[in-house]
C-alpha cells in the first residue's frame, strides 16, 4: 500500500460519510426535541432531485443547494403538520414521508435521467485542492467542511446554549416545558424543519458531488443509516461524528472491494456490511442500558395541548 492509495481511500471515506453526517445531525436535533422522523430517506431524495434540477436549469449550484434545503424542509413540514397539529402516529407518518419522497423525486426526476452536471468542487485554490498530500485537507467539496462545522455547532448549541437547553427540555418533558410557557409545538416545528433542511442538503451532496447526476432512489438507504447513527451516538454530537466516519469506512470497503479485488467475499457481502454492522451495533449499544447515552424521554410520543 502506497501513500497515494491511502490518501485516495481517506478522501473517499470523507466524501461518502458527509451526507450521512449531515442527515444524522439534522435528525439529532429533531429527536432531541422529542420527535422521531423516519422520513430522512425521503427528504434526502427530494433534496437530491431539487438540487440537481435547479443546478441543471440555472447553472447556479449555490441556488441548487439552497432550493434543496428548502425542498427538504418543505417535505418535513408535511410530516410536522400531521404529527404535531393532527397528532398522527410518528412512525407511520415518517414512513409515509419516505414513500412520498421516493415517489415525488422519481416523478420530477423522470425528466432528468441520463444528464450530468459539473460536480461542486473544493472551495480552495487548485494547487491546494489537487496537491498530492494536502488534498486530504483541502480537496473536498464545500459539503464536507460544512458537515463537520454543523455537527460541532449542534454539539455546542445543545449543550452550551439556552436555546439548546429549551429544546432538550421539550424533548425530555413536554408537559413541564409547556406549563412554564414554552411552545412545545412551535419548537418541534422548528426542529423538524431544520432536520428536513439538513436531509435535503445531504441529498444534494449525493446528486451534486458524490455522483453528479440523477438516478431513482440514488440515496440507496443511507437515510436509514443516518437514523441508526443517531441511536449509536446515544443522541450526542461527538460520538455522532466518530460513528459517521466509522460507517464511512465500511461503505468505502464496498467500493474498494469492487475495484481492487479482495475477492475473498463477493461484492454483495461488502454492500450488505454497513447494514449488518448497524444492526449489530444497535444491539450492543441498546443492551448497555443507559451507559451510552439515552433517548429523549418523550421521543415519539404525541403532545396534544389541552384546550
Amino acid at each position: 500500500m502506497n501513500m497515494t492509495f491511502i490518501i485516495d481511500a481517506l478522501v473517499t471515506v470523507i466524501g461518502i460519510t458527509t451526507p450521512i453526517l449531515l442527515a444524522a445531525s439534522g435528525e439529532l436535533v429533531v429527536e432531541k426535541s422529542g420527535v422521531i422522523n423516519l422520513g430522512v430517506e425521503g427528504m434526502m431524495l427530494v433534496g437530491a432531485i431539487a438540487g440537481f434540477a435547479v443546478t441543471f436549469e440555472t447553472g447556479n449550484p449555490w441556488l441548487g443547494v439552497l432550493i434543496a434545503m428548502l425542498a427538504g424542509a418543505s417535505a418535513s413540514l408535511i410530516f410536522g403538520f400531521l404529527v404535531l397539529s393532527l397528532g398522527a402516529n410518528q412512525v407511520a407518518t415518517g414512513l409515509a414521508l419516505t414513500i412520498f419522497g421516493v415517489g415525488l423525486s422519481s416523478l420530477i426526476g423522470s425528466n432528468y435521467v441520463g444528464i450530468a452536471i459539473d460536480s461542486l468542487d473544493s472551495p480552495f485554490p487548485d494547487d491546494m485542492a489537487h496537491d498530492a498530500f494536502w488534498r486530504i485537507v483541502f480537496g473536498h467539496s464545500p459539503f464536507v467542511y460544512f458537515a463537520i462545522f454543523l455537527v460541532l455547532a449542534i454539539g455546542y448549541f445543545l449543550n452550551k446554549t439556552r436555546a439548546g437547553l429549551v429544546l432538550r427540555a421539550v424533548g425530555e418533558n413536554d408537559f413541564s416545558a409547556h406549563s412554564i410557557g414554552y411552545s412545545v409545538i412551535g419548537i418541534r416545528y422548528a426542529a423538524i424543519a431544520f432536520g428536513g433542511a439538513m436531509a435535503g442538503l445531504a441529498g444534494a451532496d449525493f446528486s451534486m458531488v458524490i455522483s453528479p447526476l440523477w438516478a431513482e432512489q440514488m440515496t440507496a438507504g443511507r437515510g436509514w443509516i443516518a437514523l441508526a447513527l443517531v441511536v449509536f451516538a446515544g443522541w450526542r454530537a461527538g460520538p455522532l461524528l466518530a460513528g459517521a466516519y466509522f460507517f464511512g469506512v465500511l461503505m468505502a470497503l464496498e467500493l474498494y472491494a469492487k475495484a481492487s479485488g479482495f475477492a475473498i467475499f463477493p461484492s454483495q457481502f461488502w454492500a450488505a456490511m454497513p447494514y449488518l454492522i448497524a444492526v449489530i451495533v444497535l444491539a450492543i449499544i441498546s443492551s448497555r442500558d443507559g451507559k451510552g447515552g439515552t433517548a429523549p424521554a418523550c421521543l415519539g410520543k404525541p403532545f396534544i395541548p389541552n384546550g
Partner: protein
C-alpha cells in the same frame, strides 16, 4: 365561531370505516389538481389511475395478481399494527421467502411430485418468519427498536438476492442474465384457477383473510394483541406477555410476507433483479388503509392494486411517469393518517365566548 377539538371517549366506529373512503376520494380530487399543475390532463389521469382498472374487464386479472401479495403481507402486518409493533421490513421477509422457495426449486429442478409446491410454500414461510425473528430477538433481548432493525435487514436481503442470482443459482441457459432458471411444471401452479381468471394467490389471500378474521375477533390471542396495543400496562397486569406478542406478531408477519414471496415467485416463474417490487412497503399502507381489519385489508389491497395497474394505464394513455402510482400511494397514506384525527376527536364549532362543558362520563 371557533373550531374546537373534543376528545372522544371511544374511537368512533363510523369514522373508522368512513375515513378510508373519504381519504381515497380526497386523493382523487387532489390528484386532478396535482396532475393539472404538472401539465397533464388531470381528470383523465385520475380516471385512468382509479377507474379504468375497475371498468376494464381485461385489467381485473392484473389487479388480482397485484392484490394477492399486498393482502397476504398486510394481513400479517395488521396484527403488529394493533399491538403497536412496527415491522417495516416486510419487504425483506418477502424477498427472503422467495429466495428460500427458489432454493427448494433449485434442489428439485429435475424432480416431479405433488409435494414440491407445498414444500416451497412451507420453506418460504419459515424463511420469512426466521428473517423476522432477528428483529424480534433484538427487541426482546437487547431492546433494539424493531423499526430500524427490520428495515436494515431489507437492504441485506437485497444483496443476498443479488448474490444468489448472479452467483450460485444463476440460470446456466440465461445468456448471462442475472436470474434463476425458470421453475419447472412441477413447481408451478396453474395461472388461473379453473380457467376463471382468478390467480391462485388471490384465493390464498382470501382464505388467509378469513383465518385472520377468526383469529383476531374470536381468540384470546387476538384479544391479547389488541390489549397490548391499547393498554400495555393493564395487559401485562392481566397476564399477557408483551415479549410473547412481539415474537408472535413479527413471526406471523414474516411468515405471511414469505408466503407472498413464494406466490410471487410462482407468478413470475423466476427470480431476477426486478423481483423486489416494494410490495412489502405498500402493504404497510394497505394494512393502515384497511384499519388492520381483515375485511378492510382485503378491500384496501384491491384499492392499492388498482393504483398500480392504473398507474401503468395512465403512463401509456396520459404519459405520466411510472412513479405516479407510488406518489399517490404515499398521498393516500398521508390522508389516512390525517383523518385519524376524526376517529379520535370530534370537531365542534362553538361561539367565541361559549363556555362549553366537556362531556364527561354519565
Amino acid at each position: 365561531m371557533r373550531l374546537r377539538l373534543e376528545k372522544r371517549l371511544e374511537p368512533s366506529h363510523r369514522m373508522l370505516v368512513l375515513t378510508p373512503v373519504l381519504s381515497v376520494l380526497a386523493i382523487m380530487v387532489l390528484g386532478v389538481i396535482i396532475f393539472d399543475g404538472l401539465g397533464y390532463e388531470g381528470q383523465q389521469a385520475v380516471w385512468e389511475l382509479f377507474f379504468t382498472p375497475v371498468l376494464d374487464v381485461y385489467k381485473w386479472r392484473d389487479v388480482a395478481t397485484k392484490a394477492a401479495p399486498l393482502i397476504m403481507i398486510a394481513l400479517g402486518l395488521s396484527l403488529g399494527n394493533q399491538a403497536k409493533i412496527w415491522n417495516i421490513g416486510a419487504e425483506g421477509q418477502y424477498i427472503v421467502g422467495a429466495i428460500a422457495a427458489a432454493g427448494v426449486a433449485y434442489a428439485t429442478q429435475n424432480m416431479t411430485g405433488f409435494w414440491i409446491i407445498p414444500l416451497m410454500v412451507i420453506v418460504g414461510m419459515v424463511a420469512g418468519a426466521i428473517y423476522a425473528a432477528f428483529p424480534a430477538v433484538l427487541r426482546t433481548r437487547y431492546g433494539v427498536s424493531e423499526v430500524l432493525s427490520s428495515l436494515m435487514l431489507v437492504y441485506v436481503s437485497l444483496q443476498l438476492l443479488s448474490y444468489m442470482i448472479t452467483g450460485p443459482w444463476k440460470d446456466p441457459d440465461g445468456h448471462n442474465f442475472p436470474q434463476t432458471a425458470q421453475l419447472s411444471d412441477a413447481q408451478l401452479l396453474p395461472r388461473d384457477l379453473f380457467d376463471s381468471g382468478i390467480p391462485p394467490g388471490l384465493l390464498v389471500a382470501l382464505i388467509a383473510a378469513a383465518v385472520f378474521y377468526v383469529v383476531v375477533s374470536r381468540t384470546v390471542f387476538g384479544f391479547s394483541i389488541r390489549a397490548i396495543g391499547e393498554a400495555p400496562h393493564a395487559a401485562r397486569y392481566g397476564g399477557f406477555s408483551s415479549d410473547g406478542i412481539v415474537w408472535a406478531t413479527l413471526m406471523i408477519s414474516g411468515a405471511m410476507a414469505g408466503l407472498a414471496g413464494v406466490f410471487e415467485l410462482m407468478q413470475l416463474t423466476r427470480l431476477n433483479l426486478g423481483f423486489p417490487s416494494g410490495y412489502g412497503f405498500t402493504a404497510i399502507i394497505v394494512s393502515l388503509l384497511g384499519r388492520s381489519n381483515p375485511v378492510g385489508v382485503f378491500v384496501a389491497g384491491i384499492v392499492l392494486a388498482i393504483t398500480y395497474v392504473g398507474g401503468q394505464v395512465a403512463q401509456t394513455v396520459v404519459h405520466v411517469p411510472n412513479a405516479t402510482a407510488g406518489l399517490f400511494q404515499a398521498l393516500l397514506l398521508f390522508a389516512i393518517l390525517a383523518s385519524d384525527l376524526l376517529v379520535r376527536y370530534r370537531i365542534r364549532f362553538t361561539l367565541k365566548n361559549d363556555v362549553s362543558v366537556q362531556r364527561g362520563d354519565a
